[in-house]
């Protein structure tokens, strides 16, 4: 139980630190900043686990784990899962979610209702739908998955490997249309 409680505390500390950093500093690469903050909480978790008593001075005996190392490793796994599967995904959705952006645009419109044409123009806080595609292409260029040569976009070695992996998975899972 100690591992789980410390994992929950570390996760909350991590998201509190992310919130403070995002509010105080203009961070250009936010996902990388989040990862850095998460990594910084790992030694804190380990130190807290090692330095605190097994019962945290509040747990009943039946909740104290005799295998301390395993309990500590389990807590660390939970902390990592909460970050990579939780907070980082919340950020990714808020920053890049296509469907979510449409829902927010409708919600933020004066009449709280948009036609398809209005949604197209209002997309991304008024940037329009064309911007969405540009943003994806810029992202692929900046991560070196594709490069521009003579006005054409080509897959790099990294992009080719990614395309093979994801294309293979999509074919195997018989996914042909994004859902």
């Amino acid at each position: 139980m100690k591992g789980l409680l410390l994992a929950a505390a570390s996760s909350l500390l991590c998201v509190a630190a992310v919130t403070v950093v995002f509010r105080v500093v203009d961070v250009p690469r936010r996902a990388a900043a989040m990862l850095g903050i998460f990594l910084a909480t790992i030694p804190l978790y380990v130190a807290a686990y090692v330095l605190t008593p097994a019962d945290l001075r509040l747990l009943p005996g039946w909740l104290v784990e005799p295998r301390g190392f395993l309990c500590g490793a389990f807590g660390l796994f939970v902390h990592a899962a909460l970050f990579f599967g939780g907070w980082l995904q919340v950020y990714n959705l808020a920053e890049r979610g296509f469907s979510l952006r449409i829902l927010i645009d409708i919600d933020e419109s004066p009449a709280r209702a948009l036609s398809a044409e209005e949604a197209e123009a209002a997309y991304g806080g008024g940037r329009g739908m064309g911007w969405m595609l540009d943003k994806r292409i810029e992202g692929l260029l900046s991560t070196r998955l594709i490069v521009e040569r003579d006005g054409r976009l080509m897959a790099t070695g990294k992009g080719t490997r990614a395309a093979r992996l994801f294309g293979g998975l999509r074919a195997f899972l018989r996914i042909d249309t994004p859902q």
Binding site: F77, I106, F172, L173
Partner: protein, 166 residues
């Protein structure tokens, strides 16, 4: 009582999580699945129940059996974003198409492949089908389910000072 209750529970959780992932691949490969996200969720829910059952069969106390379920829940948290990247990411789709074209693609060709109206129309259709929006007098409004998603994310975007995004 099992002397290695925690270890047994964690191993059971890990094994059933792996079974859920294998099950996902097998089911999706052999069956044309309509409700994909729901099916993956169901597979992990079954894994959680199986973990509980396995723990109780192996004499693990109830409290530590829950740890096994936590392993399945964490596996689900980590697996779903991966699955969505494979299934729905437009960046992934783009890089697959760029790689498939023998001489790459120009920006104009990409724009032709992703016509704005069709892309938006398709997504609006999906959102309506999933019950997040509903058409009223030629316009789309959020349903209760849609507001339930939109409002917390609006608050997060404000709290974290994120741009419009999308």
């Amino acid at each position: 009582m099992n002397p290695d209750a925690l270890g047994t529970a964690l191993r059971a959780g890990a094994a059933w999580t792996a079974a859920a992932v294998v099950g996902h691949f097998v089911v999706f490969h052999f069956v044309r699945v309509e409700h994909r996200a729901r099916t993956v969720t169901l597979l992990f829910a079954l894994a959680a129940v199986a973990t509980l059952g396995t723990c109780l069969l192996l004499d693990v106390d109830r409290w530590r059996a829950v740890y096994g379920v936590v392993v399945v829940a964490c596996g689900f948290l980590l697996y779903m974003p991966f699955y969505y990247t494979v299934a729905a990411s437009q960046s992934v789709q783009l890089v697959i198409e760029v790689r498939a074209a023998a001489h790459g693609l120009s920006l104009a060709q990409i724009r032709r492949r992703y016509p704005v109206e069709e892309t938006l129309g398709g997504r609006l259709e999906t959102l309506a089908w999933a019950g997040y929006i509903v058409g009223v007098g030629g316009r789309f409004v959020l349903t209760f389910k849609g507001r339930l998603v939109s409002r917390p994310f609006r608050a997060i975007k404000k709290l974290w000072r994120l741009g419009p995004g999308g």
